[in-house]
């Protein structure tokens, strides 16, 4: 925050850094940020909930982000979401044991590789529901 001179204009940058450091934005964290940047807490919460990138809940040990952009939609991205929802948790949620988070993304710009999934930060190309099964079995999901 000091890098941005505690300026309210830098709120989004600060939230980015905070999420990188802590994994997610907890309510006390948001309150601290609001206090330090001299912004109303409502404004900070408003911004944090407006943008998809910020997460207010902790993430699981492994994260699957399924791209549901147009190219992946045409290539069958939703069958992958269905697979993950069937085996793990609903999109946007984490399994109760905190093992796997399932998310969807609005196009990750890898349309040449559709359907694409980001699994723990790595882009998997031309994914089929069977690939998902294989990855889930590897990490021991029932």
């Amino acid at each position: 925050m000091s890098r941005h001179q505690y300026s309210g204009n830098a709120l989004i940058e600060v939230l980015h850094t905070a999420q990188e450091l802590f994994g997610y934005l907890s309510p006390p964290l948001l309150k601290t940020i609001a206090h330090k940047l001299k912004l109303p807490p409502s404004r900070v919460l408003g911004v944090a909930t407006f943008y998809h990138f910020f997460s207010l809940k902790p993430k699981g040990e492994h994260t699957f982000v399924v791209c549901v952009g147009t190219a992946c939609y045409v290539a069958g991205g939703f069958s992958l979401v269905a697979k993950l929802e069937h085996r793990c948790a609903k999109a946007g949620h984490t399994t109760p044991d905190g093992k796997v988070s399932v998310e969807t993304a609005r196009c990750i710009g890898s349309c040449g590789l559709a359907p694409a999934v980001i699994y723990d930060g790595n882009v998997l190309a031309r994914v089929t529901p069977d690939c998902i099964d294989a990855e889930l079995n590897k990490i021991g999901v029932k």
Binding site: I12, E13, Y51, F53, A71, V74, G112, L113, A125
Partner: protein
């Protein structure tokens, strides 16, 4: 660095590259990286080391070479050959080519995919290492900025851009020269330059590829714009999802500042220009210019009423020039070769080239650049290589704001006016091909769901209208809708178009309107016969029994 030093550095680097016995270019754009390009590059480097060829053979990572469907791609400069689907095990054969093994994976550079393209924006992508400033200088980088500062007044720069006929590549196609003139005329200071790299359209990856493959080109274009309109500060608003692009831009900005190509006293002259990055956080509406400005200011990305337009009152209420990545990337060649040269390419009203991201059901997925005025049929069947196995149904341009183009209109030339006439838009350049396994009603529903999620909620037509339209479309796909719903859908489409505050709401009905116009029979089959011709939707009798 002075202009002379810049030229010296260029000839020095060109001489060094020519002295090498081979330069092996390895595509390290996002597409090839996810097919294993990083491992391949390490294997190539290790091979060069182990054979003691360091200093003779150089391995470079480059930006996107275009043919993403055949990645990872490697280009060998010595024998001018491009190879596809290369694995690390192939490294020894590439360093000392014995040809026989790899020949079958060589890609013919005379294929229409390559020969039909005209590269201006992507000229360096796939040729230079985006992480090395010297590579960009070797191909004449920053010479246009030098030319503008040394030989031209800022007014002359604006005139040159006007003469070129360049129009905004973000989608709407506003003449770039006029926009620059508007900002240049403003008396208030400071002025700001903003580069819109919030490429939110699903199915589009042009800006990402330009930023990843040739970041210095965009910085140079922005600096020239700064000089032309009298601004000293620029911002690039880039999507948070584009990690690699962000990292390469940060490197490029640092390198350029170190060599005085950005920052204070650029090229040892009085002009100063700084560029900072602003990272977006995943909101489609931030591609709208007033929402983007709000987001740079650290607020929610909600658009506001225009006028005043950003050239009069933009960032922090100051005159602001906003252009798209591809627009800025067009500037250095225009300054270097002149507006007259640029205006010879393209059609009467749409000059230059356009970059398209080909995706969906097409043989050659990847990144292409074609002159304006080429027909969609040429793009899809000559360059794109056609649709594998099944029958073509529709091409979608312009993302959620665009339309679906049916087969009978494939001979439409690609320019701003022609596409608008058939109910689509140029958009930023996503071009998605669908075959007969796609249901057009479900496609319309998919885009409406997108707009519904992405609506910022400020104005009611968009906030409530997208929800209503999505609900009707959903009921059509599940076989619960009636003819009255179809009428309601049409009237809502007009309502949204005419009363929404910003582009998102105004264009949200486009996919619905265009599919209703070209594929009305699909809607009717869903509603009257309760079945999906493409077999995609589940119009099962269950919900009907419940309603009956």
């Amino acid at each position: 660095m002075t202009t002379e030093e810049l030229r010296d550095k260029q000839s020095e680097e060109v001489a060094r590259q020519q002295a090498l016995s081979n330069r092996i270019l390895c595509c390290t754009a996002a597409g090839c990286i996810s097919c294993g390009a990083d491992g391949l590059r390490h294997a190539l480097n290790a091979e060069v080391e182990s054979k003691g060829l360091a200093g003779k053979v150089e391995v470079c990572g480059t930006g996107c070479m275009g043919m993403c469907s055949r990645g990872p791609l490697v280009y060998s400069s010595a024998d001018h050959k491009l190879f596809g689907t290369v694995t690390p095990a192939d490294a020894p054969l590439l360093i000392t080519p014995d040809g026989a093994h790899l020949a079958q994976r060589a890609i013919d550079l005379q294929e229409p995919f390559f020969s039909r393209q005209t590269k201006i924006v992507l000229a360096n992508s796939g040729r230079v290492d985006p992480e090395k400033l010297t590579d960009y200088i070797a191909v004449g980088g920053y010479q246009s900025l030098a030319k503008a500062l040394d030989e031209m007044t800022s007014k002359e720069v604006v005139e040159e851009v006007k003469k070129s006929g360049l129009r905004g590549r973000g989608g709407a196609g506003y003449p770039t020269g006029l926009k620059w003139e508007l900002v240049a005329k403003q008396i208030a200071t400071p002025k700001y330059i903003v580069c819109n790299a919030d490429e939110g359209d699903p199915g589009a990856f042009m800006d990402r590829s330009v930023l990843e493959g040739d970041p210095h080109r965009v910085l140079e274009g922005m600096a020239i714009a700064g000089y032309a309109v009298g601004a000293q500060q620029g911002y690039i608003y880039v999507r948070g999802e584009y990690g690699l692009a962000i990292q390469r831009l940060q490197t490029a900005i640092k390198q350029a500042e170190r060599e005085h190509l950005l920052g204070a006293r650029i090229l040892d002259q009085g002009f100063q220009f700084r560029i900072d990055l602003r990272i977006g956080a995943g909101a489609f509406v931030c591609g709208e210019e007033t929402a983007l400005i709000a987001s740079i200011e650290g607020k929610r990305g909600q658009p506001r009423q225009r006028p005043p337009y950003p050239p009069a009152s933009g960032l922090w209420g100051q005159p602001t020039l906003i252009n798209n990545v591809e627009t800025y990337a067009n500037i250095p060649p225009i300054i270097e070769r002149g507006g007259d040269w640029f205006s010879t390419i393209g059609t009467a009203s749409s000059k230059g080239t356009k970059v398209f991201a080909l995706a969906g059901k097409i043989a050659n997925t990847g990144l292409i650049e074609v002159p304006m005025g080429m027909t969609l049929r040429e793009i899809l069947f000559d360059i794109g290589g056609g649709i594998p196995n099944r029958k073509f149904k529709a091409a979608q341009t312009g993302g959620p704001s665009g339309g679906c183009i049916p087969e009978q209109l494939l001979d439409t030339p690609v320019d701003y006016e022609s596409l608008a006439k058939i109910g689509s838009i140029m958009g930023s350049g996503g071009l998605i091909v669908m075959d007969d396994s796609s249901c057009m009603v479900d496609v319309a529903r998919f885009f409406m769901e997108f707009c519904m999620d992405e609506s910022c909620g400020k104005c009611i037509p968009c906030r409530a209208g997208t929800v209503q339209m999505h609900d009707i479309l959903r009921r059509i796909t599940t076989g619960e809708a009636s003819d009255a719903d179809l009428e309601m859908l049409k009237s809502l489409a007009t309502l949204l178009k005419e009363t929404s505050l910003c582009g998102l709401g105004q264009t949200a009905p486009n996919p619905v309107v265009s599919t209703l116009r070209y594929f009305p029979e699909e809607y009717e089959t869903h509603i009257r016969e309760k079945r999906c011709p493409a077999g995609r939707c589940n119009c099962s009798p269950a919900p009907q029994e419940a309603s009956a």
